[in-house]
């Protein structure tokens, strides 16, 4: 196309352009695409920048906007991070969050692989209805379940323990993982299974030797996504956990680092930053899996 040379032409001339080339003119592209994109990116990322810059700002600069530019930091300090890691229960919360997220993710993946395979390929009576019910289960929000769940968790004696979270997180992870894996299993050709069946393989062998190896990308997607969901979970952890040593990061930071009227913004933002980093790092390694699982759930 005639992008470069015509971009120098005066405005009146450019209006004669026809068809798709209207977007190809550089000045126009800047206004229509690059500028909005830059604003979007700035707004979407600014809170993270603000989080990070606050986490390393010395207290003297935090609220002194007269003498220091708030957007930058002179003489960054590790004082807040040091405080967070060595004088609060933060490392314990981090460990709890990891433990709970990993355990509930594996539990959910285990249950979901079997459920998805059964619904998609074993095709028992009522498999389609079950699939639909699983989808509906995905739509039941934790905000309407936490009160009765608190009741149940209390009555079976796992209140205020990590098990309370490990056993309740699968309620929103299993529907999601099953739904996602159903889509992956559907894409694996029937013929592979048929020939294995003819060769005398059992269902279990088919699942283990044929389906699972082929569904590894799906398993990774579901696993990453489930891990992030349980890492981010808040309302159950807030309701079911009482003692400081069992709290997860979101709950711990909010309930124990925020006290009274004196906000230690540096420590709070450091806590938020460190709580976000593990999922962000995981995400950065598996962006495509992540996107495919997110859009996969929407696209069926």
């Amino acid at each position: 196309m005639n992008t470069q040379d015509s971009s120098a032409a005066p405005d009146e001339l450019r209006d004669d352009a026809e068809g798709m080339s209207y977007l190809s003119h550089l000045p126009r592209r800047i206004v229509v695409i690059y500028l909005p994109l830059a604003i979007f990116v700035f707004v979407l990322l600014f809170p993270f920048y603000w989080m990070a810059i606050t986490a390393v700002k010395p207290n003297s600069q935090l609220t002194d906007y007269e003498n220091y530019s708030p957007f930058w930091v002179v003489g960054a300090t590790l004082e807040h991070i040091n405080y967070l890691l060595f004088q609060t229960s933060y490392p314990g919360w981090l460990w709890n969050t990891i433990l709970v997220s990993v355990a509930s993710t594996f539990l959910s993946l285990f249950a979901s692989v079997f459920a998805a395979y059964a619904i998609e390929r074993v095709r028992f009576t009522g498999a389609r209805t079950t699939g639909l019910l699983i989808f509906l289960a995905y739509l039941v929000p934790p905000s309407i379940l936490f009160i009765p769940l608190a009741f149940i968790v209390f009555n079976i004696g796992i209140y205020d323990s990590r098990f309370a979270l490990i056993f309740t997180y699968p309620t929103f992870l299993i529907p999601f993982c099953t739904w996602l894996l159903m889509g992956y299993f559907r894409s694996i050709p029937y013929e592979l299974e048929e020939s294995a069946l003819v060769d005398g393989a059992t269902r279990w062998q088919i699942l283990r030797r044929i389906i699972l190896p082929l569904a590894v990308p799906g398993l990774i997607s579901a696993g990453i996504f489930a891990f992030t969901l349980s890492w981010n979970e808040f309302i159950y952890a807030l309701t079911f956990i009482q003692s400081s040593e069992n709290k997860t990061i979101p709950v711990g930071v909010l309930t124990e680092l925020v006290r009274g009227d004196i906000f230690e913004w540096g420590a709070l933002m450091a806590g938020a930053l460190f709580g976000s980093l593990p999922v962000v790092i995981l995400y950065s390694f598996f962006v495509d899996h992540y996107v495919s699982s997110m859009t996969g759930a929407v696209k069926e």
């Binding site: 798709m20 977007l23 695409i33 994109l37 979007f40 990116v41 979407l44 809170p47 603000w50 989080m51 935090l62 609220t63 906007y65 539990l107 249950a111 979901s112 079997f114 459920a115 619904i119 074993v122 028992f124 009576t125 289960a137 739509l139 905000s143 309407i144 379940l145 009160i147 009765p148 769940l149 608190a150 009741f151 056993f167 309620t171 299993i174 060769d199 005398g200 393989a201 059992t202 269902r203 279990w204 890492w231 981010n232 808040f234 309302i235 990061i249 930071v253 913004w265 938020a272 709580g275 976000s276 999922v279 962000v280 995400y283 962006v287 992540y290 996107v291 997110m294 859009t295 929407v298």
Partner: protein
């Protein structure tokens, strides 16, 4: 080969296993069992239990008695409850419309030819990846009454004279929480719609532009109709999660000032857990169900339409 998985010496159990393997229903049942235990025990049962608790006067530490519709009658006369319903509807409507408009815009931008496209796609999704509570804490700091960076920037630009009281004034607080919710929701809508946009064949756009369609017409009569089914699903999810939002409000305002930002979910928590009135909290949660059902039905028909359009068999 089948006998390898069963103890070879006992042939009878081997044949049993074979028969079992051949029965779809028995196998389906066993395979469904782990998921079913979790979902029935921790999802279906609590859902029913929640409805039951709504009819009782259960408190924390005290088993309740059946009191019929008393909780609901009480809520009918409760100004705060109706305020929370109003807030929830406004919050959901405004935030969803903004998320949709901005998300679609961002999706259209990202669908253009761009350098570093996958990089942009990756960083745009960040607000959605980071735990809501933690990003909400950053917003809390950004909305600080005294040291807000927004107030400071606007004052430097000479647009305002004194810091904005973001979370202390009812109207400002509503705008602020909606802005934070939109911030977190845009990536989900944008990336999902982008995935939808990428499934639209380029040839359709080319054909339309050969026929002389303007960019707006191409968007209106080609892109939008092709995108409608996925928009329906994405927005149903978005509405559902916005309607039941809890975390953002709990961090930023805890429902204040004077209940101006209390949503049904936060009110249900406040009455049920710190307040100890499990029955009443459950009743508020149950009151959300009709709205959710409406969304789910909407989603169901959205999905149906998609299947018809694509002529899919399933």
């Amino acid at each position: 080969m089948a006998s390898r998985s069963s103890p070879g010496a006992i042939s009878r159990s081997g044949s049993l296993l074979k028969r079992f393997n051949n029965s779809r229903n028995a196998l389906g049942f066993v395979f469904m069992l782990p998921a079913a235990i979790f979902l029935l025990g921790f999802l279906t049962y609590p859902l029913g239990l929640g409805v039951w608790l709504g009819f009782t006067d259960t408190r924390i530490g005290r088993a309740g008695d059946f009191v019929g519709l008393q909780n609901y009658f009480y809520l009918m006369d409760d100004q705060v409850f109706w305020l929370s319903v109003f807030n929830t509807v406004v919050y959901t409507l405004v935030a969803s419309i903004l998320k949709f408009a901005l998300g679609l815009w961002l999706a259209l931008i990202l669908n253009e030819k761009l350098p570093f496209k996958s990089f942009f796609r990756a960083i745009v999704l960040l607000p959605w990846v980071v735990p809501t509570v933690l990003s909400a804490l950053a917003f809390w700091w950004i909305y600080d009454a005294q040291f807000s960076i927004l107030s400071w920037s606007l004052m430097k630009l000479g647009l305002i004279d004194q810091p904005i009281n973001f979370l202390g004034d009812p109207f400002n607080a509503r705008v602020s929480v909606i802005a934070a919710n939109v911030w977190r929701g845009i990536p989900f809508v944008a990336i999902s719609l982008l995935a939808g946009l990428q499934t639209i064949p380029v040839s359709l756009q080319e054909a339309a532009s050969l026929d002389g369609a303007t960019p707006w017409k191409r968007f209106r009569y080609v892109t939008l109709p092709m995108l409608t089914p996925i928009i329906a699903v994405v927005m149903t999810f978005s509405v559902l999660f916005t309607f039941t939002d809890f975390q953002l409000i709990y961090v930023l305002t805890k429902g204040g000032p004077v209940n101006a930002t209390h949503l049904m979910a936060t009110l249900s928590f406040q009455r049920g857990i710190p307040g100890g009135q499990l029955g009443e909290g459950a009743a508020i949660a149950v009151a959300m169900i009709p709205f959710l059902l409406a969304s789910i039905l909407f989603s169901f028909f959205g999905l149906q339409r998609r299947k018809w359009q694509q002529g899919g068999a399933d």
